[in-house]
Amino acid sequence: MLSIKNLSASINGKEILKGVNLEVKAGEVHAIMGPNGTGKSTLAYVIAGRQGYEVTSGEIIFNGRNLLELSTEERACEGIFLGFQYPVEIPGVSITNFLRTAMNEQRKYHGLDPIPAKEFLSKMEEKKKMLELQDKLTNRSVNEGFSGGEKKKNEIFQMAMLEPMLAILDETDSGLDIDALRIVATGVNKLRRPDNATVVITHYQRLLDYIVPDVVHVLFDGRIVKSGGKEMALELEEKGYEWIKSQL
């Protein structure tokens, strides 16, 4: 599904990614771990198409399409979803309106008519129930005045509504208490299907108690330096990132 080859990228002339290689197949859950400042978020941004990053070499192929040639919104319409580490507040725009706009723009991209209001509402009810979200959350403005936990749940709710092919969750577990963590993880697990994939970017092993990855990668100094099975996350937790460094 996603094939990243020798990807290097810089921001303001500073090289952050230094030849990343990553293969994600449909049905898989990948975890990308690593200490702070090694390029985890940059990798997520470059895949999603954030402005300001310059790709200096390599390619990102997603379902046969060269992502680097597409705008941010086109990538989203192709099925990329980024769950933000710091979701942005948009006062004055309700989650309902925001999601409906997003969904209809994605449908338009695929040559579909806008979603009928009734269908949209029942879909929203269904997903809210699935994620155990409070009713009133969706009437509020996007992320405005939300607690950290509410913001992250809202990210998962958007993911549930937009049904992406590939979801990249950037530090979705940061700042969450155990209950919120469980809800977020349950959402991710319930949304898992044979035809979609998830990349979880995380700092700690904790989230991986709830979301069991097929592959764990360690990103260090702009490169994926080690990949392995889920047991590697435990080993990392135990031995720390110094262990990785010593192996380099």
Binding site: Q51, T72, E73, P91, G92, T101, S141
Partner: protein, 470 residues
């Protein structure tokens, strides 16, 4: 109908018109009104038109607006103009009591002054001069008289008609009163519109003031409204400005508030050549409050100027100002928020905020918060920002599949919504919300009004004027 052509030297020709024509033009003046007029004329002769050299006019240059030859319409258009033929309110389920001014003159069907069963009087100011001399003496010209503005003096010197609203004590006016100011004239027109609103003790009024134009000629509207709010009364006031680019609109509002009264005034400026809103609030009675809001969306070469002066004269009053604007292309904006807290006005609570988004590097805004505080136990805050659309927010929205253009609209809409959401009449809020969305999509033209029926746009709008009445 008598039209007076004004020569290029506007000030001296206005002076000679006044001197020569006063006896005939203002023949119906009561001694009180005549006195106010004469005094204002002398003041205008002394002050003249404002120039960019004056501090209060530094950001708004009227020299181009004052350059063309203008005409004055010195006689009423006559009675029995069918308002429904001209206007149709597009706001669904919006029951309003509609009063209209055509080229500055009150337009009426049956009677120049309507007296409702509750005792509320709505109608022509010219008629009120004659019929309610005591109320006029008590209020007319009282709230503007300290003004050092040449334009206020000019208006008072030449004002002949406008809208008069009187709400007696203890009346809650059920209908929203909608004041529509229409300009339809085939030559350049300068007009002095004058309104007087009196809200009695413990009475409540909702007022929507719309400034519209039909023609494409150059117009200069110098509108002055005086509003008196008696004890424990309230006024919910809206100003909707959607004008063509040839127009200059100077809209001066003077609010005078007695104790316990509350005012909310919201200026929504969507289009216009030059718009200047002067809002003066005198908090003269304790525990009175004023919320002054504004939102402006300007593009091309449009210019918007909001001047707010809030005078905390006594203790325990509250005022709040929030103005938000988006300026595109070469548009320019000015905000000047002056809050005065007098020596004895302890426990004043004053808040002020002006936020701007500039979409291009050619758009400009000049914002100046100005707090003048002479009391020591007060809470005052102010803030002004000028910026671009937030890059993080743009990325967030686009990462959901929303196009760059729509993401921009969404953010601009969200920015304006903070002010629009303060509109407490649901039907009006809905409509203005729609207009703002349309405006942001670039689909709102000046003839797309809340009150004008769009389908009549192609037809030449005709007013049935009875010439014999003139």
């Amino acid at each position: 109908m008598e039209h007076i052509q004004i020569e290029t030297d506007l000030k001296s020709s206005l002076e000679s018109i006044f001197t020569e024509k006063s006896p005939t033009l203002f023949s119906k003046d009561t001694p009180y009104v005549a006195g106010v007029r004469k005094q204002a004329f002398d003041k205008f002769a002394q002050l003249g038109f404002p120039t960019a050299r004056q501090e209060r006019w530094r950001g708004t240059d009227l020299s181009k607006s004052l350059a063309p030859d203008y005409e004055f319409i010195m006689e009423a258009p006559g009675e029995n103009v069918d308002i429904e033929k001209i206007f149709q309110c597009e706001v669904p389920h919006f029951e309003t009591f509609l009063v209209a001014q055509l080229n500055g003159w009150y337009v009426y069907r049956n009677s120049p002054l309507t007296v409702l069963p509750s005792g509320v009087v709505i109608g022509s100011l010219a008629k009120a001069f004659e019929q309610y001399p005591d109320l006029i003496k008590q209020h007319y010209g009282k709230y503007t008289e300290q003004s050092a503005e040449g334009l206020i003096a000019l208006n008072t010197a030449f004002a002949q008609d406008g809208i008069f609203i009187y709400v007696p004590d203890n009346v809650t006016v059920p209908d929203v009163i909608q004041m529509v100011n229409i300009v339809d004239f085939d030559r350049n027109l300068m007009l002095q519109a004058r309104n007087l609103v009196i809200v009695g003790k413990n009475s409540h009024l909702r007022l929507v003031q719309c400034d519209d134009s039909i023609n494409h000629k150059v117009t200069f509207i110098n509108s002055v409204s005086e509003v008196f709010l008696d004890k424990d009364s309230s006024l919910d006031h809206y100003k909707l400005q959607n004008k063509d680019e040839h127009s200059t609109l100077i809209n001066s509002l003077y609010f005078y508030q007695e104790s316990g009264s509350s005012l909310s005034s919201n200026a929504i400026s969507l289009n216009g050549g030059i718009i200047r809103n002067n809002t003066t609030v005198k908090l003269a009675g304790e525990h009175s409050s004023a919320n002054i809001y504004g939102v402006y969306l300007m593009d091309r070469n449009q210019h918007i100027d909001n001047q707010v002066f809030i005078d905390h004269m006594v203790p325990n009053c509250q005022s709040s100002e929030m103005f938000k604007g988006i300026l595109d292309d070469h548009a320019s904006g000015v905000f000047n928020g002056h809050v005065m807290v007098r020596k004895d006005a302890q426990h004043t609570n004053a808040y002020q905020s002006n936020k701007n988004i500039l979409l291009t590097d050619k758009a400009t805004v000049d914002t100046k918060p100005f707090l003048e505080i002479y009391a020591d136990d007060v809470k005052c805050s102010h803030g002004a920002t000028v910026g671009q659309l937030d890059g993080d927010a743009m990325f967030y929205i686009r990462s959901r599949g929303i196009s760059e253009a729509n993401a921009q609209i969404l953010l601009m809409y969200a920015f304006a919504a903070e002010v629009v959401n303060k509109i407490s009449i649901p039907e009006l809020r809905q409509r203005i919300d729609d207009m703002v969305k349309k405006r942001l999509r670039g689909e709102l033209s000046y003839c797309d009004q809340c009150v004008l029926h769009c389908s009549t746009q192609e037809k030449k709008v005709s007013f049935e004027i009875d010439v014999t009445k003139i």
